[in-house]
């Protein structure tokens, strides 16, 4: 063995010592830290649709107050509710965002786990857009045609009262007034809240226009839901992941295709894509705000009253979110594509949030 080998062994020994010490130290810190860590930041989970708005409020809140900036995870509305309702305490999130109202089953689960006082805040509206590349023809379509084009099963084209697998291949097949272009729609997967809302508002809206299908709702609710909410799986509706940006890029490359995404993406990319008119209304700020654009949904967030005063800043965060400078007609959230609520609604939810009034189901 030469000198070099001894040298290597020496370095090795010193290194091993240091690593052992560091490992011991870090695990000690970890245990100590985890044992007495009082969470001093707000933790928020929930809908990916509310995420762009909640993050802006959180960032402004962090900059303008002495509190830490809240942490926001985008887990989807359902996933957020599950985490939110798991219990009270530092290890459970303080607030969850939702692109739909809390379901009775979720509310009951919350109650069962000790999350009794929940503050419900409606923050505004979001439109769902059917868009395409703006060098292509702009589509004007009814919800009925949209349902016929995208549903898995449609009423028999011969007029009979039965459902048949969707036979339409081009928009013209659906309605002779529509262009002679193959149906090709890129949209979010079933895990997405946007997809749920699209199915509920656009497809079911069109589905209900068939009287005999509407009558099914009373007789067999599940069959009705299956008929109205199922999206076709023969390759005409292409699931493109939760990433709306990807859909926008694909539309530019494929001028024949349409995409389903949130209004904020249309708002930010209006030089590339255009929104289709649905039931005669264009997806524009004013139309969504006054309700004439039919495919829009309310956005909410829910806060735990039990955490107010335990985790610092929750009350102040609620105030910041419900401030006119944020969610008002001219607030900074409108720059990000949020459609504000009418004045009375804002007054009601704002007052409830400031007074920390728990909701009733």
């Amino acid at each position: 063995m030469d000198r070099n080998d001894f040298h290597a062994i020496h370095i090795w020994k010193v290194l091993m010592h240091k690593i052992a010490k560091l490992a011991l130290l870090s695990s000690a810190i970890a245990v100590a830290g985890a044992a007495n860590a009082a969470r001093d930041y707000i933790q928020i989970v929930g809908s990916s649709t509310v995420y762009p708005f909640a993050t802006v409020v959180a960032e402004t809140f962090g900059k303008t107050t002495d509190f830490k900036t809240p942490i926001i995870e985008s887990t989807g509305s359902g996933g957020g509710m599950k985490l939110f309702c798991a219990g009270v305490g530092e290890n459970h999130p303080d607030i969850t965002n939702a692109s739909r109202r809390i379901k009775p089953s979720e509310f009951e689960k919350c109650q069962a786990n000790g999350v009794t006082d929940i503050i419900e805040v409606k923050v505004g509206y979001d439109g769902i857009v059917l868009g395409n590349y703006n060098q292509s023809e702009q589509l004007s379509i009814t919800r009925r045609d949209l349902f016929l084009a995208l549903a898995k099963h449609v009423p028999n084209p011969d007029g009979g009262e039965s459902l048949v697998p969707n036979p339409y291949m081009t928009w013209k097949d659906v309605n002779v007034e529509l262009p002679d272009v193959e149906i090709e729609v890129l949209g979010p997967p079933p895990t997405s809240g946007t997809r749920d809302a699209f199915a509920e508002l656009a497809l079911e809206g069109g589905c209900k226009t068939f009287d005999w299908v509407k009558a099914m709702k009373k007789a067999d609710k599940n069959a009705y839901k299956a008929a109205c909410h199922s999206v076709r799986e023969d390759g005409t509706y292409i699931e493109s992941g939760e990433n709306d940006n990807l859909i926008v890029q694909k539309l530019r490359e494929n001028p024949k295709a349409f995409g389903v995404f949130g209004f904020s993406f249309l708002d930010q990319n209006s030089d590339v894509i255009q929104g289709s008119l649905i039931d005669g209304a264009a997806p524009e700020f004013e139309n969504i705000a006054d309700g004439s654009y039919p495919v829009s949904r309310p956005l909410y967030f829910y806060a735990k009253k039990a955490h107010v005063g335990v985790v610092p800043g929750i009350r102040e965060f609620l105030n910041a979110f419900t401030d006119e400078a944020a969610w008002g007609d001219e607030g900074y959230l409108t720059d990000k594509g949020l459609i504000p609520m009418p004045d009375e609604e804002r007054a009601k939810f704002g007052a409830d949030a400031r007074a920390l009034n728990p909701m009733a189901m």
């Binding site: 052992a20 942490i71 926001i72």
Partner: protein
């Protein structure tokens, strides 16, 4: 007879030369293909991303009147002053012809919403500026920045653009007065995440990744090496150790999200550690890298010639001394190679971090592994999903930073390996 044989060889010669040539061409074309893909990937990333390292600033003459500070510049009045109002006033004074409410609100949007906080900081540091008019370089809004980088085409009809004709006219006017400039985007390297692209930075994600990977290294390397030494040098071979070996080999191929779910069940739900912290991220990634380290460490130990062990035992070293003093230093380079591969994988991983809450919007830069933090791949994912156009270039820039980070970590370990490299 012998003539015939050479004839046969000569006849086949051309064919064999051709086969040789063909084989080389196949090999070469495989490499060219690989390089072409790499160049394309790096090329598009660079072309999309290099502009993110520059950021547009607008020079504004800001008058800090005494009345803005209640006539008396105390620390409190400086903290409370309406800087947004001061910036708006300066913009109005610069463009006195803008009178309509809607136009004004568009005019205010030329400057980033973060500029007011920069101004506050500036005034807090230099209170003597109060009462004077000073030219400040204000952070421009992301729309202005995207326009200055030539990514908004003014030929597109106005209604299809977010930046309207009036705004473009204002920018051009400012440009003519040398009041618009692109400077090195230092904020990109010193800020945490932000929803305003012009204020978004990578430091939070870099620190998060650094803490997570540090925890991973400190956990996975000693445990992995210890496990490998025991299994390779001390454990007797029986059914039980065979079972362990099969399991380790299997674990190396398990999708990373499974380790994330394991981490969720053990660290978060059982040990009640908080969500979103790099410590837990590092522990999950350590679980993921352990099999890789153990397998490569065992291979490195097995490659040490038995003569070394026998010589050490022959001069009276105990088995532990033999391993620690002689076998291990010689096996070290191989072990470090395995660690490089494992850690590089861990650095690029985002799936297991999803379930333990590290895919989140986090503005504050983590100062320890216990502060909430994200990681670089997660930051790339989050920016790629943001609607604002200016995030496109920042996504590519973040990819470049991740690649650099990988090169740095790998370089460090290669250096260590070189130090221990032995030849015999």
């Amino acid at each position: 007879m012998s003539m015939k044989q050479t004839e046969i060889i000569k006849q086949g010669l051309a064919r064999r030369y051709n086969a040789e040539r063909r084989f080389r061409i196949y090999g070469l074309s495989a490499i060219i293909c690989g390089v072409a893909f790499l160049v394309f990937l790096l090329g598009t990333t660079f072309v999309n991303g290099y502009t993110a390292f520059l950021q547009t600033y607008i020079a504004l003459d800001i008058t800090l009147a005494d009345s803005d500070f209640d006539g008396d510049a105390t620390a409190e009045s400086i903290a409370r002053a309406d800087y947004l109002g001061i910036i708006k006033r300066s913009l109005r004074e610069h463009f006195p012809e803008v009178t309509k409410r809607r136009d004004k609100s568009n005019l205010y949007k030329l400057v980033s919403s973060g500029a007011q906080y920069d101004l506050r900081k500036e005034v807090a540091e230099n209170p003597e500026l109060i009462g004077r008019t000073t030219t400040f370089w204000m952070l421009a809004d992301d729309e202005v920045d995207v326009y200055m980088k030539g990514r908004i085409d003014p030929a597109v009809p106005e209604k299809n653009r977010r930046l309207k004709d009036r705004s473009i006219a204002w920018i051009e006017a400012l440009k003519a007065q040398d009041r618009v400039e692109r400077k090195f985007n230092i904020l990109f390297f010193t800020n945490g995440d932000s929803r305003e692209p012009e204020q978004a930075g990578i430091l939070g994600a870099v620190m998060g990744s650094l803490f997570a990977i540090l925890v991973t290294m400190l956990l996975a390397f000693p445990i992995g090496v210890a496990a490998a030494i025991y299994l390779q040098e001390f454990a007797s071979r029986n059914r039980f150790t065979d079972l362990i070996e099969v399991n380790i080999n299997n674990l190396a191929a398990v999708p990373s999200i499974i380790f994330g779910l394991l981490g969720l069940a053990i660290f978060l739900n059982f040990f009640n550690l908080p969500r979103s912290i790099p410590l837990v991220g590092g522990m999950v990634l350590a679980l993921m890298t352990l099999p890789t380290i153990i397998i490569s460490s065992r291979a490195a130990l097995a490659a040490v010639p038995p003569s070394i062990r026998e010589a050490a035992l022959g001069v009276g070293a105990s088995p532990v001394q033999t391993v620690l003093h002689h076998v291990l230093p010689l096996a070290m380079p191989g072990m470090l190679t395995g660690t490089i591969i494992g850690l590089a994988q861990a650095l690029g991983e985002s799936a297991p971090l999803l379930v333990i809450g590290m895919v989140a919007f986090i503005v504050d830069i983590p100062g320890s592994p216990l502060d909430p933090g994200t990681a670089l791949p997660v930051q790339i994912y989050l920016w790629a999903d943001s609607p604002e156009r200016a995030f496109v270039e920042r996504t590519s820039a973040a990819i470049m930073v991740l690649l650099l980070f990988l090169v740095a970590v790998n370089g460090l370990i290669v250096l260590l390996r070189k130090k221990f490299e032995r030849r015999w």
